[in-house]
């Protein structure tokens, strides 16, 4: 502190030093003159005897700094010794802090990646993203624009430099004699230049290559793909590669670190294709003319603001152009539907558009919840360590007293205690960072923690490090306040008189009790949150009517890329079903168009009674064994069978909901309904158990199923119910597909359960994280309570001895101590339950099938915390009850 002060008082000190040394020299000179020397000679001699003036000055100045370093080193050495002498205290404190710091650093790294970090492009703050919002609600977004919209904005905007468009796709890439699926992006020619990225080799696309649909098959390869597929061959530019069966010319290679910039993707793009190659890149659209399709919104738009243009100006320009579009291009196209006519143009900074704008809010809410929970755990951890330090402070009171009496300054003592806190925090910080690396890996491997894929790097970078350091400094300061209070309160007289019951000790115990109450309250809040999310997850899983979804293998197959017509497609699928059915271990096998709980649904028009207007209901297209395969029971009538093929009478199966809504009180079996594509009349032959399609929260909708042989669709999913481990069947099933057509590639491997769980990712991760944090919090609170009571018992040994000598029974002593613990617990529970009651409403929208103030959950959490507290109180209470009055009284 003194050294610190000196730094600012340097001017004054310097003048005084000058005066002092000048005095010496002049005095010496005067003495020599008095002894008969000439003034000249006297001055020379005085200077000579004094030595190097500047060197002396420098040494004098260094005194303070040297002492600071010396004492710091001394304090660190002393602190290390103290910590090593109390390994229990050190271990608990460090572990507690490490858990708190680790959790926060890990979660911060994701918050930073998803929401905070600037984009890695030059002048990234000038990049903006265009999307459509809704006039109805500020929460609804459509992140995409159509190709005609894009061209209109690009050619008319006055505030944007050169609008670029992009979207994700995945393509079949021919590698030797087999094909692999590769993620890629379809981008406008100016995409890279708008972002400010230069090619590693070759060039980007030319404007002319992105002008006519299907004319210029050119491709830019990603650095990784170039390394893997071509062994980093520099001569690859100009080579031909086969994508979706079409030969493309490689024109460039992207730099090593460039792999798009969106984070809401399952995989990073490995190649880029110009927008006008959409007929090849998006085979599923068939002959559809995207170039003129107003309303087919499939492109995201990004741009750089022109120099000098503000966000507000660009926003005004965008809104104005959107109005122009509404008056011209959209007028006729949207005559029948009103949704796009209610769009509003929304301009956002591009670094906020790394996640689809419609989902950004969900991600933010989820991450905020995590950050808040991690913060609470850190708070508990801190208060626990603080409480430990307070206990220790009382124990060390006599040590402090002795040191004060020996003349160690209070400031010096404070500095030393602060050094000790810093040591604990530093060790906790290092351990916490190691924990954070492990935690980040685990978190990043959780499949889709929110309702979309996210590209997350589990690496901790400098920004996370900086965050952790700031966090650690704050914690050190917080703990520093404890010794400060302690240092200020030390009263030598009372310490040496052995008055451990002095006022300062009592107030410190009050502080400890307050901290414990807070810990209990926080842990019960976290536990309630955990139970609510676990029950949400259970309820969501129960919403899936499928029987044993873990034993059903799921593979997506797309024949549209291979340009199969209906006859060839039906033949392929029928043969595949027949072949897979004979594989060992297969119980049943089926095809289905929409796999339920995958986030979307099929809809189709139906005319329930002759003469009605067509009404849209849910629709699915399945092969004969589908219901048997997933385990949906037919409640009435029959399932599809091999006879339900083209040429045979058209049939349909409806769900219970549809039967109830359209034919209430009647038997729908045998009724005729009108269907489209192809237009036909079908007879209802059965009623099947209800199921949800889009996700578990969606209400059950009326739905009908048609046999796949009567309505052909090229993209189907193969579902195989397997006896035993379904993964054993992956290779045999793939081989059958390959044998039928070596160019057909089945997509990712799932089971029905893993597929469903993707949609439950957020529920799952919320439940898992909150449970982990909840248990951690209760454990910490338990340790804290134990520590406080154990300390109280140690301090009151004498008093307890007297009580027992005066006739108090062991059970009354037990009650006395345990009662103290339970009183604190009850206070904490009361505070926690009230807080949870208020906070639970905030997460109400994330819950499913359980009320945010569910009484069973609240009671259960409180009971659990109470039991832990009881155990934590019992151990020191039993120790108190075993106090031998003779020993206790002799002790002093």
């Amino acid at each position: 502190m003194r050294w610190y002060g000196r730094f600012f008082r340097r001017g004054l000190t310097e003048r005084q030093l000058d005066a002092e040394l000048r005095f010496h020299l002049e005095q010496q000179t005067a003495d020599y003159v008095a002894a008969g020397m000439t003034p000249e000679e006297a001055r020379r001699r005085a200077r000579l005897e004094f030595g190097g003036l500047d060197q002396v000055k420098e040494e004098c100045r260094d005194v303070g700094a040297a002492r600071f370093m010396e004492t710091l080193l001394q304090d660190v050495r002393y602190g290390v010794r103290i910590l090593r002498r109390n390994p229990g205290f050190t271990a608990v404190a460090v572990l507690t802090l490490a858990l708190g710091i680790g959790a926060n650093a890990a979660i911060f790294s994701f918050v930073d990646q998803l929401l905070l970090r600037p984009l890695p492009f030059p002048e990234a703050d000038r990049l903006v993203s265009l999307c459509y919002g809704s006039m109805q609600s500020s929460d609804i977004y459509n992140g995409s624009v159509s190709l005609p919209d894009y061209v209109f904005y690009r050619d008319h905007s006055t505030t944007l430099a050169a609008l670029a468009a992009y979207t994700e796709t995945d393509v079949a890439w021919r590698l030797g004699d087999h094909q692999v699926r590769l993620p890629g992006e379809i981008v406008s020619y100016n995409y890279f230049s708008v972002l400010g990225v230069s090619p590693f080799r070759g060039r980007w696309f030319l404007a002319d290559e992105d002008a006519v649909p299907g004319r210029n098959p050119v491709v830019v390869l990603g650095y990784g793909l170039w390394q893997q597929a071509f062994g980093s061959d520099p001569g690859v530019v100009g080579r031909r590669v086969v994508i979706n069966g079409v030969a493309f010319t490689v024109v460039g290679i992207a730099p090593r670190n460039f792999a798009g910039w969106r984070l809401d993707r399952a995989t990073k793009p490995e190649l880029w294709i110009p927008t006008m190659m959409y007929p090849v890149a998006l085979p599923q659209i068939g002959q559809f003319d995207l170039q003129h399709a107003v309303g087919a919104e499939w492109l995201s738009a990004v741009d750089r603001l022109k120099a000098g243009v503000t966000m507000a100006q660009a926003q005004a320009d965008f809104s104005y152009r959107l109005e122009q579009l509404r008056q011209t291009l959209w007028r006729d196209a949207f005559a029948k539907t009103d949704e796009p006519m209610q769009y509003v143009g929304v301009l956002t900074p591009a670094n906020e558009a790394r996640i689809d704008p419609g989902s950004r809010k969900t991600v933010r809410t989820f991450l905020s919840m995590l950050m808040a929970v991690a913060g609470l755990v850190l708070l508990i951890a801190c208060s626990n360590v603080a409480s430990l330090m307070l206990s220790r402070a009382v124990k060390r009171q006599s040590e402090m007293g002795v040191r004060l009496a020996l003349g160690v300054g209070r400031r010096r003592l404070f500095q030393q205690l602060l050094t000790e806190s810093m040591l604990i925090t530093s060790i906790g910080c290092i351990a916490g960072l190691m924990l954070a690396i492990a935690a980040a890996k685990v978190l990043a491997s959780v499949h889709q923690p929110v309702k979309m894929p996210l590209l997350l790097e589990p690496n901790l970078d400098l920004r996370v490090l900086a965050f952790t350091l700031i966090m650690a400094s704050l914690i050190t300061l917080l703990f520093g306040l404890i010794p400060l209070r302690q240092g200020a309160r030390l009263d030598l007289v009372s310490i040496f008189k052995g008055e451990s019951g002095s006022r300062s000790v009592r107030s410190r115990i009050g502080m400890q009790q307050f901290l414990i109450t807070i810990q209990v309250a926080l842990s019960v809040v976290l536990l309630i949150g955990a139970i609510l999310f676990v029950r949400t997850l259970r309820n969501a899983e129960a919403a899936d009517p499928t029987r044993d979804p873990g034993s059903v293998l799921l593979l997506k197959i797309d024949l549209t890329e291979r340009k199969y017509d209906e006859a060839r497609g039906k033949q392929f699928y029928s043969e595949l079903l027949a072949r897979v059915r004979t594989l060992p271990g297969v119980r049943s096998v089926a095809l289905v168009y929409v796999v339920p709980l995958g986030g979307w649904r099929g809809g189709d028009n139906v005319v329930p009674h002759p003469g009605d207007k067509p009404m849209q209901v849910d629709f699915n297209d399945v092969s004969e064994e589908y219901f048997q395969t997933v385990g949906l029971p037919i409640v009435r009538g029959r399932a599809f069978n091999a006879g339900d093929r083209a040429g045979a009478p058209n049939v349909a199966i409806i769900n219970e909901q549809m039967a109830e809504r359209f034919w209430p009180g009647e038997n729908p079996i045998g009724k005729q309904i009108g269907l489209e594509q192809p237009t036909r009349t079908a007879e209802i032959i059965g009623i099947v158990r209800d199921g949800r399609f889009r996700n578990y929260r969606a209400s059950v909708q009326p739905c009908f199923y048609v046999p796949f042989l009567q309505e052909y669709l090229g993209r189907m999913s193969l579902e195989v119910r397997v006896a035993g481990d379904p993964m054993r069947l992956v290779a045999p099933v793939r081989r059958q597909i390959h044998d039928l057509d070596e160019e057909v590639v089945a997509g990712d491997v799932w089971t029905l359960k893993s597929f469903r769980d993707v949609g439950l990712g957020q529920e799952r991760s919320s439940a898992a994280l909150l449970s982990a944090f909840g248990v951690l919090a209760v454990t910490l609170a338990g340790i804290g309570l134990y520590g406080v009571l154990a300390f109280a018992v140690a301090r009151r040994t004498h008093e307890i001895g007297i009580r027992m000598a005066l006739g108090a029974s062991r059970s009354s002593v037990l009650r006395l101590v345990a009662g103290q613990g339970m009183a604190l617990t009850l206070a904490g529970l009361a505070v926690g339950l009230i807080a949870a009651f208020g906070l639970a409403r905030l997460i109400a929208s994330a819950l499913y099938g359980v009320q945010p103030t569910d009484p069973i959950t609240f009671t259960g959490a409180a009971a659990f915390v109470a039991v832990v507290a009881l155990v934590a109180s019992y151990i020191p209470a039993r120790r108190a009850a075993r106090v031998d009055p003779m020993v206790a009284l002799r002790y002093e």
Partner: protein
């Protein structure tokens, strides 16, 4: 003409300074003079090196300094011993005596 002069033993200077200051408040120049006088110019003291030592001891809290006029009326920085300084001096003197006694004993018995 082989006048024998010794460098200060490390740490000895501090003790000498404390001893001199113990006689009453005194400024740096006077301390330098006293060291020379008392040791009969045996110790070769580069006078400048006195000051870092003084400042170090002051910083440790063994000395306290005050600006006061000298006999001639000039302002000078006077050093005085603090309570802890006096304790330190006693400890160092005791320590010094133990060491010299031990060394003397070894020298005598080894003869």
């Amino acid at each position: 003409m082989a006048e024998q002069k010794a460098e200060f033993l490390k740490g000895t200077l501090d003790m000498l300074i404390l001893k001199i200051v113990a006689m009453g408040p005194i400024h740096g120049y006077a301390i330098a003079q006293r060291v020379q006088q008392i040791s009969r110019e045996f110790f070769q003291l580069q006078q400048g090196s006195l000051y870092p030592a003084l400042h170090r001891i002051e910083d440790r809290g063994w000395l306290q300094a005050e600006w006061k006029p000298t006999d001639t009326g000039r302002e000078a920085k006077f050093y005085a011993l603090t309570k802890t300084g006096r304790k330190q001096l006693e400890a160092e003197v005791a320590n010094w005596e133990r060491i010299t006694a031990a060394v003397a004993l070894i020298l005598r018995t080894a003869e």
